[in-house]
């Protein structure tokens, strides 16, 4: 399936910003089931410096510096992406979770896609015994790692309330867990904390989710917005398996991957340091349109005050 993805992020600053430096992770990469046919990032005002790098985890990063005083920063990213449905191995074919834990610890791969970077606590995902016990319930002795992962995905979907008011981008994982509330970032990070506390490799994936309500089916949360989910490493054979606790499903053909890391801090779409007094407001609009029916994408504005793009 071909998609045209367009994300427009707009910052409105309370005072004139004379100097700004940002890193953007807004360009999807090719790999696995996903191929990016073309992508652009347009900025207003135009940056004085601009360069592209690929980070440790393989994400495409744009570094920009703006030296012209500005009150508004507009970042428009567009990409054309072909996405194949992921291979969905039978959980029964995956190793038992305790065996997987040993296998993960013994890998001789230090590269960015190695599970080894995802078994430890990270900046935004410290380990907590309460979350560990919560996850442990899904991993009885001998259960396959993927079966346990799916069970935990479903448990979070069933027991957590989707509530954008309950948390913000800085809410600690343990707090979101205690409330059993939050948005996709919270659900993904709670699930990752639980998996890692058991010694299992779990990564954070940011991306987009196309939603097209099918007749008789409910509309999925996170429609036409940035989204986040979990990747669980299930052994050399099955590799990384995507699990979406916000929707209680395995990742499918409508999940378009943007960036991959240990937690939100590794994949944050816009990180910046500006010289300014006063705050700012932020709006993000996302459109995911199947290319076959490509029409000029409409831009819908939603106001927010979060320092980073809104998180479904």
């Amino acid at each position: 399936m071909m998609f045209a993805v367009r994300q427009v992020t707009t910052y409105q600053y309370a005072s004139l910003v004379p100097f700004a430096r940002h890193t953007l992770r807004l360009t999807p990469g090719s790999g696995g089931r996903q191929e990016v046919l073309g992508s652009t990032i347009t900025l207003d005002p135009a940056p004085h410096e601009r360069s592209e790098t690929v980070d440790f985890f393989g994400n495409r990063v744009t570094h920009i510096v703006i030296e012209r005083p500005h009150r508004t920063l507009l970042v428009a990213s567009e990409a054309e992406v072909r996405v194949e449905p992921p291979a969905a191995p039978d959980p029964a074919d995956c190793p038992a979770w305790t065996a997987l834990r040993e296998a993960a610890g013994a890998v001789r791969d230090g590269s960015g896609r190695s599970p080894i970077h995802h078994i430890y606590p990270s900046r935004l995902v410290p380990l907590h015994p309460d979350i560990r016990d919560y996850a442990q319930a899904c991993f009885p002795d001998g259960r396959s790692v993927l079966a346990g992962g799916i069970a935990l995905t479903e448990r979070i979907k069933a027991e957590f309330v989707y509530d954008p008011q309950a948390t913000d981008v800085t809410t600690p994982t343990a707090e979101a867990f205690a409330m059993r509330r939050g948005v996709c970032q919270d659900f993904a990070q709670v699930m990752i904390a639980g998996l890692r506390a058991l010694g299992l490799p779990a990564a954070y994936v940011s991306g987009y989710l196309r939603t097209e309500p099918l007749p008789g089916h409910p509309r999925l949360a996170g429609a036409d917005a940035t989204h986040a989910w979990v990747a669980l490493w299930c052994g050399e054979e099955a590799g990384w398996q995507g699990l979406d606790p916000t929707n209680g499903v395995r990742v499918g053909a409508d999940h378009i991957e943007l960036a991959f890391g240990r937690d939100y801090a590794d994949v944050s779409p816009v990180d910046g340091v500006i010289v300014a007094s006063g705050g700012h407001t932020l709006s993000v609009s996302v459109d995911v349109v199947p290319s076959e029916e490509a029409t000029p994408p409409a831009v819908k504005e939603t106001a927010g005050v979060s320092p980073r793009p809104a998180r479904p």
Binding site: P18, F56, G105, V107, S114, I116, Y120, P126, L198
Partner: protein
């Protein structure tokens, strides 16, 4: 050895010597001075003899006191975190040096160099090709678990990067006499500067002994490191910079001290900026390139954009500048990885693999529980071990306070620990308990044995690794190696490495040849300029407030009757000045006391504190005596707070405080080079003084202040005597205003201050552009012209307010032009 000593039996020694009477090595521990039979080790004998001599003459305590006084006078301090009461602690020195025999030193030195080379190779591999992981020599998990394995640097460091440039290792000597490595300090090791000051202190305290001994000198070590790091400088750059987390850091003293000793610039993250992938220092003259940086800030805090986003101490974009090879950072970002206890167990095998040598200095035996066999070994002998976090200081909910001796745990905690190791073995190491050797410490008039660690420093030079011939001795009270830390109340000691050869070459440092003449350049960092400017303003304001208090209390002390109008006007001035609350204004003495002791925004304690805050941020470029005097002022006011509060007592206090202020400013005038730093201090002082004088004139030059108001004004402006000489016929408004506001030769007048301000501004960078004078100078010249036109007989309140506002505009223009980011950013853009 320079001083000979024959063999002596144990009995002779103790009989002859009260100093070491009763000194016995503790059972099961190695003692540096005395063997298990109570016989002095030969290399200690000369020192013991000399100390005993001084002891017998009753001079030893006085000698040691000299060392303490030196450290105090030099302002050597460190900070203890979570200790609000005494955040700055005097540096604690144990006076008896630790002696290291030439044989021991040879082994330590070789082991330290080998270990530096080994860690360098491991770091280069982990941040480069990762062959050790791919080939199975090092588990990927033993690297990935370190929060100091900074992924943005992995594969991103330019070829040829030197990772370790300044490295330290903590050593302990076990009961069998062997030296062990307790831990590695690869991030940004502290203590070398303290070691240097320890040496200075002891060399003063034991001058003759130190000269007679053939002790290796330390200076060459620092000079070689300086030479190496400085070799990376580019022409016309801002010089080598030392990046500090700032004055709240525990070892900030050392950062400032080393910067001064090595001629480096002490900078904080906010002093630096990255443009076009290059690092720059913000100075009052614009951006100056930085090509070599000695980092004393932990890596993760160095770039909020690519590393820890919460850091406010770093430089956004620094990682990009490093990637492009535009700045040499020592140590490279990410070297903290080399400190992980998880690595210790792999080092013996890695030394053989990488260097084809056995490890010269053994580690404390360590098993990383991320591997099944090692985990079993740890669990099998758990009760004989210390269990420690493999990568961090602590593990929340499991090892909340860091490493623990398992044998000391409750059964329940032990069970939890075993479960945790079973679940996430990767987070833990098991380590053998290490009992440290002891060294003599002077305590209550005699020597007693105390356990210690030795921190040894290794630095990069053009010719390879160089080991500091000495080190930092860290003396604790418990033999357990984990309990010895400066944060936990340990003492430090000088370390004397005794040389093998004769005293010939190294006894006295030979004067270095070919010292290049270094003169300060005009590139004053903007933050330093800002601090100096405000230091000047706060000090002058404190002085003015003290003058008001003095004038007020002098009047109150003279008169038994109700205060006159002038005293009421002065009391009211203290209130309007923000120095005392309105409630205190009714009673003159209350207002004066409040201005001297309370915490109001314009009170003396508040202003002195603010001035000290500015001074603390620029410790490296401020006369030492001036800092001492400022501390003394603070101490005096604090102490006086509990004293008597009558008018006479307050008058005495104000007089004394004014004398100390005069000392502070006197040191500025006499001891500061006439560079831009001094000029900013003067600008702040002059602006504040002009504002104050106008304000006094408005308060005291009016009817309400009574007939003596003008006298008070002359007094505050230090112009009473001049006035009396010039005008025989009593005080009148016009001549008084002329003298304190307009007289160009009176150093206290507004006109004089404005002329000085213009003179200072004229010397600063970018004082004039192609369009004429820049903002500050333009404003100052306009105000000066305005003043020159004034008729002393008709100066209204509005006029005075106008002049005050004009002075504030000059202050703002100075900020905009020389301190703020905005202006610099704009300058930079236009200059390209």
């Amino acid at each position: 050895m320079g001083v000979a000593g024959g063999a002596q039996s144990k009995d002779e020694a103790s009989a002859a010597d009260g100093l070491i009477a009763g000194y016995r090595p503790q059972s099961g521990l190695f003692d540096e001075m005395m063997d298990g039979k109570g016989v002095l080790r030969p290399h200690w004998r000369p020192l013991r003899d000399r100390l005993s001599e001084l002891h017998a003459k009753g001079e030893l305590a006085a000698c040691f006191a000299t060392a303490d006084r030196y450290l105090k006078d030099s302002g050597v301090f460190y900070r203890v975190y979570d200790d609000k009461a005494a955040d700055e602690r005097p540096w604690p020195l144990s006076h008896v040096p630790i002696l290291v025999s030439p044989e021991d030193w040879k082994r330590i030195k070789a082991g330290a160099v080998q270990r530096a080379a080994l860690l360098e190779a491991i770091l280069a591999d982990c941040y480069g090709e990762r062959r050790l992981v791919a080939e199975g020599a090092l588990p990927a998990a033993a690297i990935a678990g370190s929060p100091e394995y900074l992924r943005p640097l992995a594969g991103g460091t330019p070829p040829g990067t030197r990772f370790l440039a300044f490295y330290a290792l903590d050593l302990g000597r076990g009961p069998n006499g062997e030296w062990w490595v307790i831990r590695d300090r690869a991030q940004a090791p502290s203590g070398a500067g303290y070691a240097l000051e320890n040496r200075n202190a002891i060399a003063r305290a034991l001058t003759d002994i130190y000269r007679a001994f053939d002790v290796e000198r330390l200076a060459a070590f620092f000079e070689a490191f300086r030479g190496w790091l400085t070799s990376f400088r580019e022409a016309d750059d801002a010089g080598t910079c030392l990046l500090t987390p700032g004055q709240l850091n525990e070892t900030y003293f050392e950062h400032a001290y080393l910067a001064r000793q090595l001629g480096f610039r002490l900078v904080e993250g906010q002093d630096l900026t990255v443009r076009d992938q290059k690092l720059y220092l913000r100075t009052i003259a614009g951006l100056r390139r930085v090509s070599a940086l000695w980092r004393r800030l932990d890596s993760d805090f160095c770039d909020p954009l690519e590393l820890n986003q919460r850091s406010q101490l770093g430089v956004p974009g620094l990682v990009q500048a490093i990637r492009h090879g535009n700045v040499r950072v020592a140590n490279a970002l990410g070297t903290g990885l080399g400190e992980a206890p998880a690595l210790l167990g792999f080092l013996p095998a890695l030394a053989r693999r990488i260097l084809d040598q056995p490890l010269a200095l053994p580690n404390v035996a360590t098993w990383w529980c991320g591997q099944a066999a090692e985990r079993r070994e740890v669990l099998d002998q758990l009760d004989r071990l210390v269990v420690a976090p493999a990568f961090t200081d602590r593990i929340p909910f499991v090892l909340d306070r860091g490493p623990e001796v398992v044998a000391e745990m409750s059964a329940a905690r032990r069970r939890q620990l075993v479960e945790a190791i079973g679940r996430r073995g990767v987070d833990f190491v098991g380590q053998e308990l290490v009992n440290l050797s002891t060294t003599p410490v002077w305590q209550e008039g005699r020597l007693v044995p105390r356990p210690f660690q030795l921190r040894v420093y290794v630095a990069a030079t053009a010719d390879g690794w160089n080991v500091m011939p000495g080190g930092l001795g860290i003396i604790g009270d418990k033999p357990d190696a984990r309990a010895v830390s400066m944060q936990q109340g340990a003492r430090s000691a000088d370390v004397w490495v005794l040389s093998e050869g004769g005293p010939a070459e190294s006894a006295l440092p030979s004067p270095p040849r070919d010292i290049a003449i270094r003169r300060a350049t005009g590139a004053l960092p903007s933050r330093a300029a800002d601090n100096l400017f405000w230091m000047g303003r706060y000090l002058e304001r404190a002085e003015s407030t003290l003058r008001i208090v003095r004038a007020l209390t002098a009047r109150l002390a003279q008169s038994e009757r109700a205060p006159h109008a002038d005293a009421l006007a002065l009391t009211d001035l203290l209130f309007k000045w923000g120095a005392s609350p309105q409630a205190a204004a009714g009673a003159g003495v209350g207002a004066a006391a409040s201005a001297l002791f309370d915490a109001g925004i314009g009170s003396v304690p508040h202003l002195v504190q603010a001035a000290r805050g500015c001074a603390a941020g620029i410790r490296d470029r401020f006369p030492r005596d001036s800092l001492i005097a400022l501390d003394e002022l603070h101490a005096f006011i604090t102490a006086a707070k509990t004293g008597p509060r009558g008018a006479t007592a307050l008058l005495d206090m104000a007089n004394h405080a004014l004398q100390i202020v005069a000392a502070v400013t006197g040191f500025h005038d006499e001891n500061m080079n006439r560079l831009s730093g001094w000029r900013f201090l003067q600008l702040g002082l002059r602006i504040e003084r002009a504002i104050g004088t106008c304000r006094f004139a408005r308060q005291l030059g009016v009817e309400a202040a009574g007939p003596d108001g003008l006298d008070a004004l002359l007094e505050l402006a230090e112009s009473l005597r001049t006035y009396r000489v010039r005008y025989m016929l009593g005080t009148a408004r016009a001549p008084v205003f002329d003298l304190v506001l307009l007289e160009p030769n009176n150093p206290r007048s507004v006109a004089f201050s404005l002329a000085e301000i213009a003179k200072h501004l004229e010397t600063l960078p970018n004082a004039r552009g192609t369009q004429g004078p820049a903002g500050p100078l333009k404003e100052a010249e306009a105000r000066a012209a305005e003043i020159a036109e004034l008729d002393p007989a008709s100066i209204s309140d509005d006029r005075l307010i106008g002049i005050e506002n004009g002075m504030m505009r000059i202050s703002n223009e100075i900020s905009l032009t020389y301190f703020t980011l905005r202006q610099l950013a704009a300058q930079d853009g236009s200059g390209r």
